[in-house]
């Protein structure tokens, strides 16, 4: 018995010691992170001077970077663009490659462990806010004054409103935009089988009503075909239709479905508005008459591709340049196979709108600790260089003479070995073999470059949409304090889930539009009026604070 007692005491003492050591280890690591406050001071900003040699860095310098790897163009240290960048700026990158799929997990781990690389690409939104406000992230608002190229870009491309949107509740910006389109571009469009329209003497529709009539005719002619199909579920379908009906729906919808109405300067709950109802009624009509795919909620990419290639569908939503491979494969079985994108269709009010189109899709963040590194000034200069014409050209057009040539009038063209929609016989891919058109490294996409990567039909749609003002502006962002966020969280999930379930039921006809008022009342019960008061309050406060 004695021996057992002594043993038990020894073991518990050891365990206690282990726990104590572990706790000491943890607190040691966390302490250094929080000692410096987030907002830099003015003196730090003025220290970012211009280098002596004119290059970004006088001496070779290496930054560490966390890179989200897209499996279709895996990262290669041997990319020509990286070599050229080193030549032009003396900067090389020590890249930690993390597969796209696991990127959020890895970012969380690294940011919490304190091993943060100098640059973290593809800043993951939700968690960024918490870390930024806790002082873990670099506040870029203090340093953009020293970034002339970035400021030029903001002025030329009219980005200030969207940058303001990206500011957090303390009014500061903690991330920099990546993949900025010089001129806004919407790459997701509706695509149609033009050859089927031609064969039946129909013109491409310009409004949703015309589309409905055309589809009815085609469905009667080809009963086995599913005229309209969509990918990625209800939210994708709705965001491709919502703007034309004057509402905000699907993925475009944020803030628990509330949208900003310019005419009344108020935030209203879109899913209970009349425009939204009209949209649901239209979609229900399509569904009931067999024009809209019965599997619009659950269709997977494999079946979606199969239907297109087997000629079992006429109209679908997809992305630019996707039609090139469809046409190539489709022509093998049907020589007339011809898929083209079409501009957004107009709704009942006569106005056509694409889904919400922002100027950039990705962002990058830096840890606050990078401020203390001796190459911090060089880092800021390099970030600014990436927004300059040289930096933008390098990661889009590529290397002069290797991937593109410049004509005497200043226009550029790809060299003959680069694969592009106008040159399918090329041997090299811009992204895979050279590192251009990159999610992480292409900070700016010049407009002429984008046009060069699209087909003629894509460009035509793009031009028409920008001329006729069809590109929908992003919604303004609401800056809630953490208390207000808690208040919002109490009801937003329940309301959002209810609306998500009901909107599908309305489209499928499981819920009748006679019950619309009951649905609105239920939304009120689930917190609609509460959120309406909250959001409008926050908006008024935001406006008066400006």
């Amino acid at each position: 018995m004695e021996k057992v007692k002594i043993l038990k005491r020894c073991v518990s003492a050891c365990l206690a010691a282990t726990v104590a050591l572990g706790a000491a280890g943890c607190s040691g690591g966390g302490g250094t992170g929080s000692s410096k406050p987030a907002g830099g001071d003015a003196s730090a900003a003025s220290a970012v001077t211009v280098s002596k040699s004119g290059k970004v860095s006088d001496t070779p310098v290496t930054f560490t970077m966390l890179y989200a790897d897209n499996s279709t163009y895996p990262f290669k240290q041997s990319w020509e663009t990286l070599k050229k960048m080193k030549e032009l700026t003396n900067v090389s990158l020590n890249v930690t490659v993390v597969p796209d799929a696991d990127y959020p997990t890895k970012v969380q781990l690294l940011l919490n462990s304190g091993d943060i690389p100098d640059i973290v690409c593809n800043g993951v939104s939700g968690s960024v806010e918490e870390m930024a406000l806790n002082g873990k992230l670099l506040c870029f608002s203090d340093y953009v004054k020293s970034m002339p190229n970035f400021q030029k870009l903001v002025k030329n491309c009219d980005l200030s409103a969207q940058l303001e949107n990206s500011e957090l509740s303390d009014g500061k910006m903690y991330s920099l935009p990546v993949n900025v389109d010089e001129k806004r571009v919407q790459t997701e469009q509706w695509f149609v089988r033009k050859d089927l329209f031609d064969k039946n003497n129909l013109t491409i529709p310009t409004t949703w009503d015309e589309c409905y009539k055309d589809m009815k005719i085609l469905k009667a002619k080809y009963p086995k075909i599913i005229p309209i199909q969509n990918i990625y579920g209800t939210d994708d379908l709705l965001c491709m239709v919502g703007s034309s009906f004057g509402t905000v729906a699907g993925w475009d919808s944020a803030n628990t479905g509330f949208m900003y109405d310019k005419s009344s300067d108020k935030w209203i709950h879109a899913p209970t508005s009349d425009n939204y109802k009209a949209m649901l009624q239209f979609l229900h009509k399509l569904y009931a008459e067999g024009i809209l795919d019965k599997e619009f909620v659950t269709l997977d990419t494999t079946t979606y591709d199969q239907r297109i290639l087997k000629g079992q569908t006429i109209m679908w939503d997809g992305w630019f340049v996707g039609e090139v491979s469809y046409n190539e494969d489709g022509k093998k079985t049907d020589s007339n196979f011809n898929v083209v994108p079409i501009p957004a269709l107009a709704g009942p009010s006569g106005k056509a709108g694409t889904k919400v189109t922002g100027s950039w899709g990705h962002s990058m963040i830096c840890p606050a600790s990078v401020k203390d590194k001796e190459y911090f000034n060089t880092l800021i200069r390099w970030l600014d260089w990436m927004y300059s014409e040289d930096g933008a050209n390098l990661f889009s057009w590529g290397v002069k003479g290797v991937t593109y040539t410049e004509n005497s009038d200043g226009t550029k063209a790809f060299t003959s070995n680069i694969i592009s929609p106008t040159n399918p016989k090329g041997s090299k891919y811009l992204d895979r073999d050279y590192g251009c058109n990159n999610n992480n490294l292409s900070f700016v996409f010049p407009y002429d470059y984008l046009k060069a990567t699209f087909t003629k039909e894509d460009s035509a749609v793009l031009d028409e949409e920008s001329q006729k003002n069809m590109l929908t502006d992003p919604q303004p962002s609401l800056r809630l304090t953490s208390d207000e966020k808690e208040e919002e969280n109490l009801v937003s999930t329940a309301l959002k889930d209810y609306v998500d379930a009901e909107k599908e039921k309305f489209i499928m006809g499981k819920e009748s539009f006679n019950n619309w008022d009951a649905y609105v009342k239920e939304c009120d019960q689930k917190g609609r009026s509460k959120l309406s008061k909250l959001y409008n309050q926050v908006w008024q406060r935001q406006k008066s604070a400006k």
Binding site: D100, I231, Y232, W319
Partner: protein
């Protein structure tokens, strides 16, 4: 034996049919993968491929084998599997053998301590911090060391060792053999089933592991091929389930299915080949740990 009754005949027939059904269901994914990997991409996209390749081509395999990162990954996987299994087996045997001796002081509490870790863990971030503080991050040891002993495997081995009659060992010791010599000369040769089984468990575990590599390793040159495969497949699946993140045509593009299938085949076939050789031990090993001498 008595005449087989009608009931027995019906049961046998049903049994056979059911087994055939299970075999088909289990075998079909492999056959499908093989077929897709040797087919032309258009045929796959059209959904024409089912049991046999259409538009037979080896381009998918050629593309993968031309990718240097694939071979780097394969080399790493082999290193991790062989090295990891050796280290794990050595440590597991070293842990199980003493614990199998009932006269070891503190045996009970030690075992409880180990079993406790099977159910409770500190979480991902504390574990990462631990590995980091030991300076194992971004080294081969980050894969081989933290998971070296699987408590479950160790307990199975321990129970088997307990089942070896003590008389043999006592006889050896009377003849003057030390404990270590007993282990190597008497116990291990008698433990072939459990050694083979646990080796297989560990080998498969190391071969399949991508998660530890993803967390602890930062440089491409250390990534195992399973991580390469996962990126190929999951990148595509991510696009397939969440179109919201897609902002350009190049993001909407997915790795061709033929490429995915070929990579799957190349990564799973080696480990599949090991099974027939170890199978006889595996069948015996299933009963391990359940019968005590």
């Amino acid at each position: 034996m008595k005449h087989a009754t009608n009931g027995y005949k019906v049961f046998t027939a049903f049994n056979i049919l059911f087994m055939i059904f299970v075999i088909v269901i289990t075998l079909f994914p492999f056959i499908y993968m093989l077929a897709v990997s040797f087919s032309g991409n258009s045929a796959v996209l059209r959904g024409d491929v089912l049991f046999y390749p259409i538009d037979f081509t080896v381009t998918a395999y050629r593309n993968i084998m031309n990718d240097a990162q694939f071979w780097v990954g394969y080399r790493n996987t082999l290193i991790y599997t062989v090295g990891g299994t050796l280290i794990s087996m050595a440590m597991t045997v070293a842990c199980a053998y003493p614990l199998s001796k009932k006269q070891l002081p503190g045996r009970g509490p030690l075992l409880m301590f180990m079993v406790f870790t099977m159910y409770f863990g500190g979480g991902l971030i504390p574990f990462y911090l631990l590995v980091r503080s030991l300076h194992l991050i971004n080294t081969v040891w980050a894969i081989l060391v933290p998971g070296a002993i699987s408590v479950y495997n160790m307990i199975v081995m321990k129970t088997f060792f307990e089942g070896i009659p003590q008389d043999i060992e006592e006889a050896a010791q009377i003849d003057g053999l030390s404990y270590i010599a007993t282990l190597f000369k008497i116990v291990l040769p008698l433990s072939k089933p459990v050694i083979a089984t646990i080796t297989l468990f560990y080998a498969v575990g190391f071969w399949n592991d991508w998660f530890n590599a993803m967390i602890y390793l930062n440089s491409n040159s250390l990534y195992p091929v399973t991580l390469y495969l996962r990126n190929l497949l999951m990148g595509a699946q991510l696009a397939a389930s969440n179109g919201q993140g897609i902002t350009s045509g190049s993001e909407a593009a997915v790795v061709p299915q033929t490429l995915q299938a070929a990579t799957v085949v190349l990564v799973t076939v080696p480990i599949l080949c090991i099974y027939p050789f170890i199978q006889k031990y595996f069948v015996k090993g299933v009963m391990l740990g359940s019968i005590k001498g």
